[in-house]
């Protein structure tokens, strides 16, 4: 069941993803997760490498990557804003929050602003239902938000160079 992967690989920053990892059957998703956490998304080159390492076809790996909403197949913005659309947050004003942020940034959820600064996403539940509505910016969770308090968080990031 275990295949050892000894690889130092080609091309871009996707290099070395497979180095030193026990390529057990089923390692495709962990590999994708590694790439995603290093590059922020799954580049075509990285996908090719994973396919080679796992002995799968590129299309199979692409099929897997597109099934899971965690994986991005194009380059995301520098800041990732996730707005919780779990039941609690939805009922507690999450929808309004989302609409507000969407308007502020001028993008629909799932998109990235033109200056590649912000990506906006929704998430099913961040597990902070008692603090609804909740939003996560680059992994930091903010709860009990109103559109205006969320806006000030955004403004803070915006002021960065």
């Amino acid at each position: 069941m275990k295949k050892k992967a000894a690889r130092d690989t080609t091309e871009d920053g996707a290099q070395e993803i497979c180095k030193g990892l026990d390529l057990e059957e089923g390692a495709t998703i962990p590999l994708l997760q590694r790439v995603q956490s290093r590059l922020g998304y799954i580049s075509p080159e990285a996908l090719r490498e994973i396919a080679e390492a796992m002995g799968l076809s590129e299309s199979e790996v692409y099929g897997i990557a597109t099934f899971y909403s965690e994986f991005k197949l194009s380059k995301p913005g520098r800041h990732l804003i996730k707005i919780c659309m779990g039941t609690s947050c939805y009922l507690g004003g999450g929808k309004k929050l989302l609409e507000h942020m969407s308007r502020e940034l001028g993008i629909k959820p799932g998109r990235t602003t033109e200056d590649e600064k912000f990506s906006l996403e929704t998430v099913a539940c961040l597990g902070c239902c008692s603090k609804s509505p909740v939003m996560a910016v680059d992994g930091v969770i903010y709860g009990g938000l109103s559109p205006s308090s969320a806006e000030s968080i955004l403004a803070h990031l915006e002021s960065e160079p």
Partner: protein, 733 residues
């Protein structure tokens, strides 16, 4: 197992699904995702049934039977579920005609047409009349689609040979499963839920994701989503002619669908076709020669049969004996080969030879036992490769071939080391030592493991292997007491071997190169294309007759060209590797005379004429024939790479026929050069970049394909015949 389905009692073997059992009982349960040759799926949900004691409605295509089961297939609840589920499918499908009450009567009144170039309604669907969705609608009895149409219009995806119209796709996943079954998985489900489509990585074209264009996906598609592009709109065939694929020695049976004396498409008949059998028969109606041609002055001019035959008979009469050579080919029928042999031996007092051979073996038998395989069978003989893949052979190959991926042990030697590895296995299986390995890159451990697996194994040697490999395999087989299976190159390789025509090919070539031969008669082969170094000798001949379908590179050197009929126009037989006679059936009316007919007419004409005086002069400047694939000594590379020209699925043999199939030609437009990632990095070559290779004074251009399928220090180009050479590589700028 005994069970009851509706009111019928039936006994079926365990493991049967309810749907299969029902079919045996004569009850047809609808269903669109299920396919007898594919893994079970259970996605469309049209085959739901009720089973006593089980909650809900299980899908009969996935549910195995159990003892005493009581199944109902047609209760009102089930009928309503099916109607509704089918209605859902159609709410995504441009389907006006399916439920139109005048369906089938609207040839003139073109209803349901839209102002977009897209299928809308069955009348405008290429699968009209052969569509399983149409069948399901009739069977389930859907009359009305109340649900609103949902989904967005998607663009048609065009590929070589076939088109995919995602708007007609019902996501049954048959194509995905068929592709996985072939070990290719060029396509996959991508995205999720309602957005799911069937596609490729980053929407790349199929040819860039490893598609081998076998057409298995098209064959299993129940709707018009996947259709062949050739004759897309020509409708249903008038008749189907069952015959044999004229390419490799796998001898797949094919059904040629014919309409108006034209091949509409070919379908597999109980075999798993590759691209050549499925889509590669277009050559029979492309650039064919219809009349004989004679060299007059500087050029070839058309002539009548009478004149051409007279000329051939007269001129050949002057070269009886050793100055004459007859070159045949494994693409010819037994009948043609036999007549040619007779002609050569009895009339010309000379020998006929063909560069092809095959040993006598039965594929179905050898796959029962242990197997060792050498050569890239997936490129040369795809159907044979598919058959032996499942028995997990030991594979000797420098390349990660389709077969190597499925190997139980993959002995990844360096190019040219194959004979040594075979020898080492032979030694290891008697003496348990691995001295014979020498300095190959294979470990002793691997050899011992392989040797252990290979008691009495059959050794399969692909047609791309050279003589040294064949000999080493022969020796191994003697030692382990197995069976030698030399796989033939062409559809009638075995016929060539049975008639003994495979004997003496090298000697004949030798005489040709040395100028001993002054006249030749070449039937169905194109040496000027496959071995350009022969061109000079061929043009030096005093008289050359070429008999072929096309004006080939060789034919252009001829004094007389005789046009022959193709496999699709004649009756005749091929011999399979296990000795069966396979019958060819004419599908089209003949464009010309058959090979057999021409040669036997010639026999009649020339009978009784006496052989001429054999004394004659040799031209100066003799060369020696080195033969193909035997330059392995060259590997002591002076260059920086070992260059291997590997066989290629899309270019069969000399490429004479495949170059006359438009989409195959398209697939061959770029010559790919496989190169290991580490080498690529060292030479700063990235995937898809053009490179040029200097090898033995030749310069070969190609596109780099960075891949671990080749070992480090080796480059492989897909091309004619199999050769090994050393090479320098550089980037093209």
């Amino acid at each position: 197992m005994h069970l009851r389905i509706d009111d019928q009692e039936i006994d079926v073997p365990p493991g049967t699904t309810i749907k299969e059992a029902a079919k045996l009982a004569g009850i047809k349960i609808p269903g669109l995702c299920d396919h007898p040759e594919l893994e079970r799926y259970g996605g469309c949900r049209l085959c739901l049934v009720e089973v006593e004691g089980i909650r809900g409605y299980p899908s009969s295509c996935t549910m195995p039977v159990s003892e005493g089961m009581k199944v109902r297939t047609n209760t009102p609840a089930l009928k309503s579920l099916r109607l509704n589920i089918l209605e859902m499918l159609l709410s995504e499908h441009p389907c006006i005609c399916l439920i139109c009450e005048r369906s089938g009567m609207c040839d003139e009144v073109r209803e349901g047409m839209r102002k977009v170039p897209q299928t809308m309604g069955c009348r405008y669907c290429p699968k009209d009349g052969r569509c399983e969705l149409q069948e399901a609608v009739t069977q389930i009895g859907l009359k009305k689609v109340e649900l609103c149409r949902i989904g967005t219009e998607k663009e048609i995806i065009r590929s070589p040979f076939f088109d995919r119209d995602p708007n007609l796709c019902i996501l049954c996943g048959r194509c995905v499963r068929a592709c996985a079954d072939r070990g290719v998985s060029a396509i996959s489900f991508v995205f999720r839920g309602f957005d799911t489509v069937i596609g490729t990585a980053f929407e790349k074209p199929l040819e860039d994701v490893g598609c081998r264009f076998c057409g298995a996906c098209v064959d299993v598609c129940p709707t018009g989503a996947l259709v062949e592009r050739a004759n897309k709109w020509s409708g249903v065939a008038k008749r189907v002619v069952e015959t044999i694929c004229p390419y490799c020695s796998s001898n797949c049976q094919i059904g040629i669908e014919v309409k108006d004396d034209k091949i509409l498409r070919t379908r597999p008949k109980g075999s798993k076709l590759c691209v050549r059998g499925r889509f590669g028969l277009e050559f029979v109606s492309n650039q064919r020669l219809t009349r004989p041609m004679i060299l007059k002055g500087e050029g070839l001019v058309e002539a009548g049969w009478q004149e051409a035959m007279e000329l051939v008979a007269e001129r050949l009469g002057g070269y009886k004996g050793r100055r004459f050579a007859m070159l045949l080919s494994g693409v010819l029928t037994n009948e043609a080969l036999r007549t040619a042999k007779k002609f050569s031996e009895r009339v010309m007092n000379s020998r006929a030879v063909a560069e092809d051979t095959s040993s006598d073996f039965s594929l179905t038998e050898i796959i029962q036992g242990p197997l060792l395989a050498v050569g890239d069978l997936a490129e040369t003989n795809p159907a044979t490769e598919l058959a032996i893949r499942h028995s997990k052979p030991v594979v000797i190959s420098p390349f990660r071939t389709m077969l190597a991926k499925k190997a139980s042990v993959w002995l990844r030697c360096r190019p040219g080391e194959e004979p040594q590895v075979l020898e080492a296995i032979a030694k290891a299986s008697v003496q348990e030592n691995t001295d014979a390995l020498g300095d190959t890159v294979i470990s002793a451990e691997e050899i011992l493991k392989a040797a252990k697996l290979l008691g009495k194994a059959s050794v399969v040697v692909g047609p791309d292997c050279n003589r040294a490999v064949r000999k080493a395999a022969e020796n191994l087989v003697r030692v382990i007491g197995g069976k030698l299976c030399v796989v033939g190159r062409n559809c009638n390789s075995r016929g060539v071997a049975v008639l003994g025509l495979d004997q003496g090919y090298e000697e004949t070539m030798q005489s040709l190169m040395s100028g001993e031969i002054a006249a030749a008669y070449i039937v169905g082969s194109n040496p000027a294309r496959s071995d350009p170094e022969l061109i000079e000798s061929l043009s030096n001949l005093e008289f050359l007759v070429v008999q072929d379908l096309f004006l080939t590179e060789t034919a252009k050197l001829a004094d007389v060209i005789l046009p022959a009929a193709s496999f699709a126009e004649i009756e005749g037989t091929y011999t399979s590797s296990d000795g069966r006679m396979l019958q060819l059936m004419p599908a089209l009316s003949a464009i010309s005379k058959s090979d057999m007919q021409i040669i036997s007419e010639l026999c009649h004409k020339m009978k009784g004429r006496l052989p001429d005086d054999p004394a004659s002069s040799r031209p100066e400047g003799t060369k020696t024939w080195t033969g193909k694939g035997q330059q392995s000594e060259d590997i002591t590379s002076s260059g920086s790479f070992i260059l291997v020209e590997g066989p290629c699925l899309f270019e069969f043999g000399s490429g004479t026929r495949t170059s006359r199939v438009r989409d195959l030609q398209y697939l061959n437009k770029d010559r790919y050069v496989d190169i290991h990632p580490r080498d690529a990095a060292r030479h700063k070559i990235s995937n898809g970049e053009p490179v040029s290779i200097q090898s033995r004074g030749r310069s070969i251009r190609g596109l780099a394909r960075v891949s671990m399928s080749v070992p480090e220090g080796v480059m492989r180009i897909c091309g004619r015949a199999s050769r090994i050479a050393s090479a320098e590589v550089r980037r093209d700028v």
